[in-house]
């Protein structure tokens, strides 16, 4: 069994709470919810046990990705206030344990998906884990300010995997939902990056506000918010969803764009509280939850 907190010759076993924290449970909640919505919006009925197992596999896959991300970034996390308290930089867990836990969980999640659903969903889950760990964490994040633009694809997989777990095939609606999360990621992360900019700068991570500056980041938040709103509304005129989803998308996206205009057009000085940025960040999370809830509601009660 893996061990941590070495004390001379003897070591304390890792605490399960630290292993749980390694899976980024808060991020996992959004992953689980969007995956569940993808699965529930798919045509046909899925056996509840198989649906539960598929969602569990996606959750474990996301947890494994989070653990491997924290294992790789332990050194960077130690330099940022926001992440310095995580189990690895705080010294409550040793890297070997985190690596073994992440790899084991990833392998198990794919096996569970293969057993409970189909090989297509298992293959997509594998691709999403590998993409998050190798493409986003190891390759893009330390190299380019476009890291979260391309890396956003990793977080966009869950509704697609949920749909494929239910049907065994890809369809236009889950691809549009993939596109929606993909385009939602830049304004969501850059709003956060604006108010924790000094943290990213201290860790040497080339986030957009650090490399391109605040003004350019604000303009790009607005740009991505506009095309995200268009992609959020698109399933309605294209005939893949009904009016219930359509109106929800119109209203929620309009608010998103308004908040992005506030962020995109303002200048900040010393000691600015960054309230519009924090508001946009918080709203962006609620936006995705409600919009995906509307996809399912629209599927169950079409207007």
């Amino acid at each position: 069994m893996a061990q941590s907190l070495t004390h001379g010759e003897t070591a304390l076993p890792a605490d399960w709470r630290d292993l749980f924290a390694l899976t980024k449970p808060r991020v996992m909640s959004l992953v689980v919810f969007t995956a569940l919505c993808g699965l529930l919006a798919a045509p046909g009925n899925v056996h509840p046990v198989l649906a539960f197992s598929s969602i569990l596999a996606i959750a474990l896959g996301a947890g494994a990705s989070g653990a491997l991300n924290q294992w790789y970034e332990a050194g960077l996390d130690a330099k940022m206030k926001r992440t310095a308290g995580r189990p690895l930089p705080a010294g409550r867990l040793d890297p070997q344990t985190a690596l073994q836990f992440g790899v084991g969980l990833a392998a198990f999640s794919v096996f569970l998906m293969l057993f409970a659903a189909n090989w297509q969903a298992a293959a997509l889950l594998t691709v999403s884990i590998l993409f998050y760990v190798f493409v986003y964490t190891m390759w893009l994040k330390p190299r380019t300010p476009q890291n979260i633009v391309i890396g956003g694809a990793a977080g966009a997989f869950p509704p697609l995997i949920g749909w494929v777990a239910a049907t065994g095939s890809v369809a236009p609606l889950p691809v549009l939902l993939f596109l929606l999360i993909f385009l939602w990621t830049p304004p969501h992360f850059w709003a956060l990056a604006l108010f924790v900019r000094s943290d990213y700068a201290a860790a040497g991570i080339p986030m957009m506000p650090v490399v391109a500056g605040e003004t350019s980041t604000r303009r790009q938040i607005l740009f991505y918010a506009l095309i995200m709103a268009a992609s959020a509304i698109a399933p309605w005129p294209l005939g893949y969803t009904g009016a219930l989803y359509g109106w929800a998308a119109v209203v929620l996206s309009a608010v998103f764009v308004l908040l992005s205009v506030q962020v995109g057009t303002r200048r900040t000085g010393e000691g600015d509280g960054m309230r519009p940025e924090k508001r946009l960040f918080a709203y962006s999370i609620a936006y995705l939850f409600i919009l995906f809830g509307a996809v399912v509601a629209d599927h169950w009660w079409p207007l």
């Binding site: 004390h7 890792a14 399960w16 198989l50 197992s53």
Partner: protein
């Protein structure tokens, strides 16, 4: 010449060691039991769901 003494380490807490070992063993037991049930029910579900 000065004697170099290694930095003092806190005493090894055997009670904490045992507590963590017990808590992990319990958790592992619950997880393995849960998985046994889960895999049983998945097998049953796959038998009733037509291909």
């Amino acid at each position: 010449m000065t004697d170099e003494t290694p930095p003092e380490q806190p005493p090894f807490d055997e009670a904490e060691y045992r507590r963590r070992q017990r808590s992990r063993a319990n958790l592992m037991g619950w997880i393995l039991g849960g998985l046994a049930f889960l895999f049983f029910f998945i097998t049953m579900a796959r038998m009733v769901v037509p291909k």
